[in-house]
């Protein structure tokens, strides 16, 4: 695609968002920076072969996800997505009585956390996230619905406990 100068512009434009995404994947700021360094090193190697400049952010996210998976030997996600169920939400440990939002996000299973990060941090639509995660748009909607339900129910419960 572009020149060395364009690569530098891309690093400056996206490194903050990618760092935050990496941080919320691994919850360690040192590892997050390592992941980012490796991801941009891989991106540089493939930079001149990039054919779709418009989707460069999604391309970088994919590289970062692969790097994270490679480093932590994460197995392919095997979650089975069904139809959204109003009452089916991921469980949060009962010991998490007084957790704040930060801890709650960290407690979400990765299958729910990842699409939530892609949408809230990356600004991607459900269709775009489906493409990145290799699943269907409906499945992404289900995961996002459940993730937000989990966060909201815990926050509401915490609010009630505080006011009691």
């Amino acid at each position: 695609m572009g020149s060395k100068q364009q690569f530098e512009q891309m690093v400056r434009a996206f490194s903050a968002d990618l760092y935050r995404y990496a941080y919320w994947l691994c919850r360690d700021r040192f590892v997050a920076e390592d992941l980012l360094q490796e991801s941009f090193a891989r991106a540089w190697k493939a930079w001149y072969d990039l054919r779709e400049p418009a989707s460069v952010k999604a391309w970088l996210i994919t590289i970062l996800r692969n790097e994270h998976a490679r480093r932590f030997s994460r197995k392919q996600l095997t979650i089975v997505d069904g139809e959204p169920d109003e009452y089916e939400i991921p469980s949060v440990p009962s010991s998490a009585d007084r957790l704040e939002m930060e801890q709650l996000v960290g407690l979400l299973p990765l299958t729910y956390r990842e699409p939530l990060l892609l949408q809230a941090l990356g600004g991607f639509s459900c269709g775009e996230i489906a493409g990145m995660l290799g699943t269907t748009e409906g499945a992404v909607m289900t995961r996002l619905t459940r993730a937000r339900q989990a966060l909201r129910s815990e926050l509401q419960a915490a609010g009630k406990r505080k006011s009691a």
Binding site: V11, Y19, W24, F30, F40, A120, M141, R152
Partner: protein, 229 residues
């Protein structure tokens, strides 16, 4: 026709991209309007939470590493070309390591990673002994309280970045395997001093914030670590 359940589902799936039909449903349904407002509030809290602080100089460090790798690639190509030429001439020239240049790079590495001097990370003395052992050395006595151990990219590969406490203050040890240097060398940059010493198969670089402390700490390292060179 949209119902309340469908509105809730769409709002929870992507509150920023509600279709027009959902918006007009909320205008006619007080319950759904309240629900949408409450989701907006938790979404704001979520966005605030996710926006963790980004380390200062992150983009610069990424670009610096890319630039170092590009230089290393060119050096590798140049070395390969020089070997081809030397073989063609019947002479084999092998480039020895440039110790002074490695010492300067070690100081730059420490300056590029300032958090190594202010944070504790992986600070396990056993881990330090294992790393030294992997490099063919043996820690006879602790060199000081280890407070930071991290695998870092260095020119042409990776090495270990270790920070430990000494009576002379904090000292950084960069251990680089598989990168032989033929001689010891010292470099200075500002108030920083780095001393490179060859060890079996590679080298270590000791970085301190003064020449005097560097010499004293290097003496401790030599006394307490048997590098079996």
């Amino acid at each position: 026709m949209m119902n309340c359940l469908e509105f809730h589902r769409l709002t929870l799936a992507d509150p920023r991209r509600l279709p027009e039909e959902a918006r007009s449903h909320a205008n006619d349904c007080a319950g759904c309007l309240a629900f949408a407002r409450s989701v907006d509030e938790s979404e704001t809290a979520l966005e605030r939470t996710l926006a963790v602080a980004v380390p200062e100089g992150l983009a610069d460090r990424i670009l610096l590493r890319q630039s170092a790798q590009r230089r290393a690639s060119w050096k590798a190509l140049a070395l390969a070309a020089s070997i081809v030429l030397a073989v063609a001439a019947g002479v084999i020239a092998i480039s020895d390591g440039d110790s002074a240049s490695q010492a300067r790079l070690a100081i730059e590495h420490v300056l590029d990673e300032p958090q190594s001097l202010t944070t504790h990370y992986n600070a396990d003395p056993k881990r330090f002994a294992e790393i030294v052992h992997d490099l063919g050395g043996n820690v006879r006595e602790p060199i000081g309280r280890v407070r930071y151990i991290k695998r870092c990219p260095v020119e042409q590969g990776s090495g270990w970045h270790i920070v430990f406490e000494t009576p002379q203050g904090l000292a950084t040890l960069i251990l680089v395997p598989d990168r032989p240097v033929t001689a010891a060398a010292t470099a200075n940059l500002g108030r920083w001093t780095a001393r490179v010493e060859p060890i079996r198969g590679g080298y270590y670089a000791l970085v301190t914030d003064s020449a005097g402390s560097n010499s004293a700490v290097n003496k401790i390292i030599k006394q307490r670590i048997d590098w079996q060179t």
